[in-house]
């Protein structure tokens, strides 16, 4: 029945919302190879750019002559990023871009450039804090900087609590720097039409990048058109126009030709972002009952030349004991700068917190699951975690499989179990949706948003189709252009709430306008009207078809705008999740094999079950990746990122992930919380859960992620 209240359908009454909906709008294009990504843009006359990057981690450019490049056949433009006397601060930093008729000619152009560097001493080791302190290395003419974290990091009385504690555990933990490794690198295709810049940009931020082009190019923001129909992964690294994007636009302007500039794989990994490392010396204590009483931690790591490390705001992770102290030192390294990486700070904090706590449980002789249960009262979502732990334990068959640490089967291959908890916000970002209802009953939605692979197009269609009671195929969804109403960047799991709220609001208001016409025309009470199966109903009586109803709108149809977020219950924030891992460790080779992961995720109201589940599954492999294999390896001698390619930067393959079990925690109480984003939270727990499982299997902690065979064997040798 039509009520003039903005709300979701009542629990259990939705037609499409919350069901499994395949990607009706763009899935076929992807499967057919017809989806166009930035690197696929190739309008007539397109020039192709290649980049000269620094082979040194730290150097001054002493001389640079790009003139010979301009003479190379096919070369049309040369763009200098960094000239003579510039201090280059990491390997891969961009020096020159060359655009030519063919990529090989651009490469010929690069080879013709004459450049000389004065190589300076570098520092790339983020694990060795003492070494960084002792190294007499300068950066920007000053001694290598170490930054201490500021602010009030203390709570309670840690010393006294450690004195009083029954069990105290001390250990070192951490995780290495990793990259985003989007399968489509960063880049764009730029073309000018008169004074208009048309950029096909691989971006998570369609509505927010025009100004980043306009400023440096000295043009009006209104003259910039940003287009991104498809993007091959971003994971937090693609929010900006970036200097290479601006160079692309500049070279296009200069030559009067379209230019395509995509980073090559190696450069991508060196310059386009990474996740900071975080090492920690942790002391953690509990009382005789296993209640955590104190946390004391000292952190270090790097985010590149910025000299930061993880933020301590979520340390210790999930648990908030009465006494805590935490300090951090960021190390300046001559490495590329960090960017937001799926759930910034959380995976690292989860990894060092929940491994340390699991070790404390082992010291106290309490099994991991009971220990976690005893401490749920110092988490933000005790009831949710408790319920999720029960579900997860059942799906994992925890009780039957559990053995105390290191006390599993004999033989060289050992199995183990581990678990971890996580939390995330996932509130809606700001966005506006324009909904058009045409006189023939078809509907269009417009949002300056982007589909970073999550299936947001389909989710928008689900919400509109649900609201109007029409099939998804009667809704056309438009995103991917900054000329549509503004929508926030896709980061922080904010998009699903960000777009579904405004789409629902605009659609409901448009629906009411249609139903007002129907009520007047057919002399029925508005309050009795409802839409379903492309028909308008009064109670169980069919009044007219949806198409007939829309014909009452007149030849122009209607347009309605919906905004968000609003405080009307369509969206909210804060979720918790529990994950359990089962691994098999070959103690002779040090190889860890995933047997099974169970992920239980609190999600609020599910818009599209199929794609929501994909977010969790995708998170699990990304988690398995940083837990077991992927890391940036810097060569201390040359200062180079020596595994910056897809052969030596190890990602899990399809046979490496084991069995993945995903369930949402969604009692009615969750549904009524409205839509909450969950693209990030499930990527947080795998590091700790898998590390705990490995410790359970082999009886010792492998302190640093990823748990490579070498680290596993080293840990066992040390034991």
């Amino acid at each position: 029945m039509a009520e003039r209240t903005i709300a979701w359908p009542k629990f259990g009454q939705a037609q499409i919302l919350g069901k499994d909906t395949p990607r009706v709008y763009d899935g076929a294009k992807k499967a057919l190879g017809l989806a166009k990504y930035a690197a696929d843009m190739n309008t007539p006359g397109t020039l192709f750019a290649r980049l000269l990057t620094s082979p040194h981690a730290h150097a001054i450019i002493k001389s640079l002559n790009v003139e010979p490049a301009k003479q190379v056949p096919g070369v049309k433009a040369v763009h200098v990023f960094r000239g003579v006397d510039t201090e280059v601060r990491w390997e891969g930093e961009l020096i020159v871009a060359v655009a030519a008729e063919r990529p090989e000619q651009a490469e010929d152009g690069l080879r013709a450039i004459a450049i000389e560097y004065e190589v300076l001493p570098h520092w790339v080791d983020d694990f060795d804090l003492a070494g960084a302190e002792a190294a007499k290395i300068t950066d920007k003419g000053e001694p290598l900087k170490l930054t201490k974290s500021q602010g009030n990091q203390k709570k309670g009385d840690v010393e006294a609590a450690l004195q009083e504690a029954k069990y105290v555990h001390k250990g070192t933990y951490g995780s290495a720097v990793i990259t985003h490794m989007c399968l489509e690198p960063h880049g764009s295709h730029c073309e000018w039409k008169g004074d208009q810049l048309i950029s096909h940009l691989s971006t998570q931020n369609v509505s927010g990048t025009a100004g980043q082009f306009a400023g440096p190019l000295g043009i009006e923001e209104a003259a910039v058109s940003i287009n991104c129909e498809f993007i091959g992964g971003g994971f937090g690294s693609k929010f900006a126009a970036d200097e290479w994007g601006i160079a692309c636009a500049q070279m296009a302007k200069e030559t009067g030709r379209p230019v395509r500039l995509m980073l090559d794989r190696g450069t991508e990994l060196k310059v386009a972002g990474n996740r900071p490392s975080s090492l920690a010396e942790v002391t953690v204590a509990c009382d005789a009952d296993g209640k955590i009483t104190a946390w004391d931690s000292n952190h270090w790591g790097t985010n590149g030349t910025g000299g930061g490390t993880v933020s301590l705001t979520v340390t210790p992770y999930v648990y908030d004991p009465p006494n805590r102290r935490r300090t951090a030192t960021g190390i300046v390294t001559h490495t590329g700068p960090q960017r937001a990486w799926r759930a910034p700070n959380h995976p690292q904090a989860c990894a060092y917190t929940q491994t340390a706590i699991d070790d404390l449980a082992a010291v106290a002789g309490i099994d991991s699951l009971s220990f976690v249960r005893k401490n749920l009262d110092i988490t933000g979502r005790p009831a949710v975690y408790a319920a999720q732990l029960d579900i997860a334990a059942k799906l994992m068959d925890w009780q039957a499989k559990w053995h105390p640490r290191g006390k599993g089967q004999n033989g060289s291959v050992k199995t183990g179990l581990g678990l971890a908890l996580h939390t995330w916000g996932g509130a809606a970002h700001a966005a506006t949706c324009l909904v058009k209802v045409h006189p023939d009953g078809t509907v269009e939605t417009f949002l300056g948003s982007q589909d970073i692979g999550t299936g947001i197009r389909t989710s928008i269609g689900v919400v509109a189709a649900e609201t109007f009671g029409i099939p998804m195929t009667s809704v056309r969804v438009h995103i991917g252009s900054n000329k549509y109403p503004k929508a926030g960047p896709s980061g922080g799991s904010t998009t699903i709430g960000g777009v579904s709220g405004p789409v629902r609001r605009a659609s409901q208001e448009a629906l009411w306008q249609v139903l007002d016409k129907v009520a007047a025309k057919h002399s029925v009470d508005f309050a009795t009207l409802a839409v379903k199966d492309s028909k308008v109903w009064s109670g169980d009586k069919e009044v007219c078809t949806w198409k007939q109803a829309c014909s009452l709108l007149g030849p122009m149809g209607i347009e309605v705008r919906g905004e968000g977020p609003k405080d009307d219950g369509l969206t909210s924030a804060q979720v918790g999740g529990v994950q359990m891992a089962e691994v098999e460790v070959d103690t002779e080779t040090g190889i860890v094999r995933m047997k099974k992961m169970v992920a239980i995720q609190d999600i609020g109201l599910v818009v599209n079950r199929l794609t929501a589940k994909s977010q969790v599954l995708g998170s699990l492999i990304m988690g398995i990746a940083y837990a077991l294999s992927e890391e940036r390896i810097m060569d201390p001698k040359t200062g180079r990122f020596i595994n910056a390619d897809l052969e030596n930067y190890k990602l899990p393959r399809i046979g490496d992930v084991g069995e993945l079990v995903v369930e949402f925690y969604e009692p009615e109480s969750e549904y009524s919380r409205g839509v909450i984003g969950i693209g990030e939270p499930p990527v947080i727990s795998p590091g700790a859960a898998i590390s705990n499982a490995v410790a359970n299997a082999i009886g010792v902690r492998v302190p640093i992620l990823p748990l490579t065979p070498k680290r596993v064997l080293d840990a066992m040798k040390g034991a």
Binding site: A39, F230, I621, R653
Partner: protein, 164 residues
């Protein structure tokens, strides 16, 4: 600069001639010269499988094939998989089972799956994981890809049965 060569091939059933430099890869020619951009580039060195196509019935990573090597070859790319505008069983299964997210790895996975099913119409889960190990995906969790491949195989076998 080396002289350009004319290469004659059959691509997706059509006789196709193209001009290329000896140093150009087949991937580059497909994408930039012939505008068959469904074949993607993830790494350029044979490690991600995004550029997988079929060459004389065998799956190859086209970034590791020189365009001149395609002389006389029968090539099939993702654009040639569908029957007209209708998705084939593999494409349909990838769509229905949500085995694609950002979609950049999808053409490569589909081409490798086509090769698998041509060789082995009834693969086990283990065989699927083994055969697709050269293809990387950063988004999907792989799980749904395995389900999609198995379901496509089932459907294709059923269609073949029915046709007997």
């Amino acid at each position: 600069m080396a002289k350009k060569r004319i290469v004659s091939t059959t691509i997706n059933g059509d006789v196709t001639e193209f001009l290329c430099e000896p140093r150009q890869t087949l991937l580059e020619v497909l994408r930039d010269t012939l505008h068959l951009t469904g074949t993607k580039e993830g790494c350029g060195n044979g490690n991600c499988g995004s550029c997988t196509i079929s060459m004389n019935g065998r799956p190859v990573t086209s970034c590791l094939v020189l365009a001149v090597e395609a002389e006389g070859a029968d090539l099939r790319t993702i654009e040639g998989v569908a029957r007209g505008s209708a998705l084939d069983e593999v494409q349909q299964a990838f769509l229905e089972e949500a085995a694609l997210q950002c979609g950049i790895c999808t053409p490569g996975f589909i081409m490798q799956t086509e090769a698998l099913l041509a060789e082995n119409p009834d693969p086990t889960e283990e065989e699927v994981r083994f055969y697709l190990a050269g293809n990387l995906c950063r988004c999907t969790g792989y799980d749904k890809i395995v389900r999609a491949v198995l379901s496509a195989a089932r459907k294709r076998r059923m269609t073949a049965e029915a046709a007997k």
